[in-house]
C-alpha cells in the first residue's frame, strides 16, 4: 500500500496505481450495510495523531463518548501488523473486539460482527496535517436503516478527535 496515495512506477517501468488507507476504508464504507463515515483533515501532524489514536486504551474513551473503558487482553505482533484482542465497555456492557493495526489503518471488529470500527489516516502537507477517516457499522444484513444513527456517532467522534488533536491532546477526559 502507498500511504501517500500517488500512482507510482513499478519495477518494469509501467505505472502502478494503489489504494491508500483512506481509500481502503472508503471501499469498506461503500460495501458494508449501515456503514457511516466522517472524513476530513486534522490540523495536527500525522506522526502525532496516529500514534495517539492507536493507543486504544487511552485514546478511545477520550474521543468516543459511547466508550467508557478499553482493556487490551492479548497482543501479537506480525511484522508491521499488530493484532489485539480488547474489551470495550460501553454503558456498563463489555464487548470483545479483534483489532488489526497497520500504519494508517485500524480495523476493530466486534465478536459475532456486532460492531465494526475502522480508522484510517494519511499524512498531508508533508506530514504537517493528517487526513483522517472514522467509520462505524453494524456489518450484518438489513442494518441499513441504522446508518443515520451511526452517522451521528461518527460525526461526534471525529469532531472530538479533531478538537483534541488540534489542541495538542491535553490530559483528561474529553
Amino acid at each position: 500500500m502507498n500511504p501517500s496515495g500517488n500512482t507510482r512506477t513499478g519495477g518494469n517501468g509501467w505505472p502502478v496505481a494503489t489504494l491508500d488507507p483512506i481509500g481502503r476504508a472508503k471501499v469498506l464504507a461503500a460495501t458494508i450495510p449501515s456503514a457511516a463515515f466522517h472524513h476530513g483533515v486534522i490540523d495536527a501532524p500525522y506522526d502525532v495523531v496516529w500514534p495517539w489514536v492507536i493507543d486504544l486504551e487511552n485514546s478511545t474513551p477520550r474521543f468516543d463518548s459511547q466508550v467508557d473503558r478499553v482493556v487490551i487482553r492479548h497482543r501479537e505482533q506480525q511484522g508491521d501488523i499488530t493484532h489485539l484482542r480488547i474489551s470495550a465497555t460501553s454503558h456498563g456492557v463489555s464487548l470483545p473486539f479483534h483489532v488489526r493495526i497497520e500504519d494508517g489503518f485500524c480495523m476493530m471488529k466486534g465478536m459475532a460482527r456486532v460492531y465494526l470500527v475502522v480508522m484510517a489516516a494519511v499524512p498531508v502537507d508533508g506530514g504537517e496535517r493528517t487526513r483522517f477517516l472514522h467509520m462505524e457499522a453494524i456489518p450484518l444484513p438489513d442494518t441499513g436503516r441504522l446508518r443515520r444513527l451511526i452517522q451521528r456517532e461518527v460525526d461526534s467522534d471525529f469532531s472530538n478527535l479533531k478538537r483534541l488533536a488540534e489542541s495538542g491532546f491535553p490530559e483528561g477526559r474529553s
Partner: protein, 163 residues
Amino acid sequence: MEHLVRAAQRGDPEAMDALVRDLMPYVGRVCGAIALDRGDDAVQETFIAVLKSLGSLREPAALKGWVRRIAVRESIRLAGSRTVAMDPDTMPLPEVALVDIATSLDIRATLAALAPEQRAILVLRDVDGLSEAEVARVLRVPVGTVKSRAHRARAAFRGRWQP
C-alpha cells in the same frame, strides 16, 4: 483463497479487507497502466464494484479473471471521463532509480498518447500475458480488433523509443 471469497461473500469485513489486500498488487498494475493519473480512483471503484457484486461470483477459482474484467472496465471508464495531458517535465515519479527514469517517462508518456482501450490491450497482452483471444473476451471485442489496436499501440511505442 476460496475460504476468503466465501467469507467475504457472507459480508465478513475482515475477509473483505483481506481480499482487497491480496488483489491490490494485481489491480494496481492493471488500473495504473490503463487509467494513468486516475489509477488510484480506478482501483477504489474496482474494489467497490468487486465487493458489491461478489455474491454473483459462483466459482471462487474464477476470481482473478472476474476482477480483471471489472478493473479494465472501471479504468477505461475513468480514463475516458477526463483526458489528462502528460507533461514529462512535471510528471511525479517517486522512488524511481535514476537509471530507470528515462524508460519510465517514455512508458508513461507513450501510454498517455494512446486511447484507454489501446492501453488496456497492451497491459493485458504484454504485462498480464493474455492471448489475443483472451483479451478479446475481456474487452468484449472481436479478435481482429484486438490485433489491429495492439499493432497500432506497439507501433506508437516503437516510434517513441526508436525514432
